[in-house]
């Protein structure tokens, strides 16, 4: 673990009263290595290590703590601070229905997450409607309908309508009639660099005025996570992020990249394929996982 590496590096620093440029430079190199191996973006690593260096320099070494432990605490705290606040839930207050729009790359876990969110909200006694607005992917509507049946939550779908905007408009008037208070829109996956599809998504957002625009992102994403997050944020204005597939063994550095470049709070973690497998995001646990 990285704490072991630091104990070795800082063993040469024993008896020093402060962390200095020379004794932290090697540690900073280790941090940089660890973060890059964890898939944190190159530029994000650069600015992160610079912040850690600034915070660490001149720090007094607390008597009952080793310099290595002191340094790790600075790194960990800095990481937690950047990853965001714990338990930042959905902001759904306002006129009914509150619309939640799920967006993201192909295969990131949007449709599954729609079901997870719907289940989560139904447990909080919200009257939820899911909308099958992916008219592109083969059997996408079937997938969401099947999910809805599984958890007893209604899905609005129209096999004969090809326009996501029309489907959502119809879904919202249906929702108003039925007194639904929360609408979750599952959109088609797309590439962030597909200008046409990103434009269509922006137009959809303007049409439905969602309270939440959540980027559903694969936690195993690599360096490109910054481009993806930046483009989705630029096009839509993200209000939050859901990281999926955290039940795997990825270090998940994409979390830091996505947060750094979009500023959008990471609200939930997908931790499995079942619809129950959704947890509030915990920055402390994520920081430890990223550091490795």
């Amino acid at each position: 673990a990285i704490s072991d590496k630091f104990n070795t590096i800082f063993s040469k620093v024993r008896g020093r009263a402060r962390l200095s440029e020379e004794n932290i430079s090697e540690a900073l190199r280790e941090i940089r290595l660890a973060l890059l191996e964890a898939d944190v973006n190159f530029k994000v690593v650069k600015s992160f290590t610079a912040s850690v260096r600034d915070k660490a320099l001149g720090t007094e070494v607390t008597p009952r703590v080793t310099p290595g432990q002191q340094f790790i605490k600075i790194v960990h705290d800095e990481l937690v601070g950047l990853l965001g606040i714990e338990g930042e839930g959905l902001s759904l207050s306002g006129p009914s229905p509150a619309v939640i729009m799920l967006v993201g790359l192909v295969g990131s876990g949007k449709t599954t997450t729609a079901g997870k969110l719907a289940l989560h909200l139904s447990k909080k006694s919200r009257n939820t409607l899911m909308v099958a607005a992916d008219t592109m992917r083969p059997a996408a509507r079937n997938q969401l309908v099947s999910i809805g049946q599984r958890i007893g939550i209604e899905v609005f779908s129209n096999d004969r309508e090809q326009s996501p905007n029309r489907i959502c408009a119809d879904a919202l008037s249906y929702a108003s009639k039925k007194g639904v208070d929360t609408v979750i829109i599952d959109t088609a996956g797309r590439l962030a660099v597909d200008e046409q599809l990103m434009g269509e998504l922006a137009a959809l957002k303007r049409a439905i005025a969602p309270r939440e625009v959540l980027l559903v992102a694969d936690s195993m994403s690599g360096q490109d996570a910054v481009t993806v997050a930046a483009k989705f944020h630029e096009a839509l204005g993200l209000t939050g992020v859901i990281l999926t597939k955290l039940d795997g063994d990825t270090r998940g550095g994409a979390a830091l990249s996505i947060k750094a470049v979009s500023g959008a709070p990471i609200k939930f973690a997908g931790v499995g394929e079942k619809l129950e497998d959704l947890m509030p995001f915990e920055p402390g646990r994520m920081a430890t996982r990223i550091l490795g």
Binding site: G107, N142, M220, G222, G248, D249, E273
Partner: protein, 274 residues
Amino acid sequence: AHGLDGGLRDEIEELLITADIGVVLTARILDDLSAWAAKNNVNPAEGTLRIKESLLSILEESEGAISAVDAPPAVVLVLGVNGTGKTTTIAKIAHDLTEHGKSVILAAGDTFRDAAVEQLTVWGDRLGVEVVSQKQGADPAAVAFDALVRAQTRGIDYLFVDTAGRLHTKYNLMEELKKIKRVLGDRMPAAPHETLLVLDAGIGQNNIAQAKKFHEEVGITGIVLTKLDGSAKGGAIFPLFADLRIPIKYIGVGEGADDLMPFDRHQFVEALFS
């Protein structure tokens, strides 16, 4: 001038790391470049050429087509973690084969995920190929077996077995995959003739862990790298191939049936620099 300019070194490092090539391989390439630059007159163009050559040499013998077989059907087992593009990739390869006059059957081996069978069935209808399936929750090994019997009975050239996405860290799911492979082999000793691991180019270093684990547990004979029509470069394939030497057979470049290309290491290296 001799020696590697600091600015150029930083630029190259950023290019390689942000392509997901990883710290270790990047460091090795930079050290090699520095050593070479110390003895030669270097300009950025020559430096870039040198790096391309290093990358190309790492990928020697990384290309390859799907295995041909003595007696049909050629059985292709397709696996990988969730959402990488397995089902769509099967449709693309099947499409390519049928365009070349081959007969194909698809086995709907994902009996777990909502509408997985429906998704493959839509593709089967579009391509005019038969899809063998059972009801949701059926034993995937039973579906694979049925499909193989069907393919043998009909004298079909290729059988593709689709499987549910699964994280390589899940013991029961990896055991399930081994069982599917075993059942195929019990019915036809050479089957599966090809075991394809589908990897997503947008994933980072975890692609290496996935390949290692799947290879260790099931034995992988080929890789398909998908979503290369995006901005991700899929560079984790370099350290992955250097270690495991599993050939990359195809790349996925879109969501349509035609969006498949054979892996070409020259094109792949060039794309890193575009």
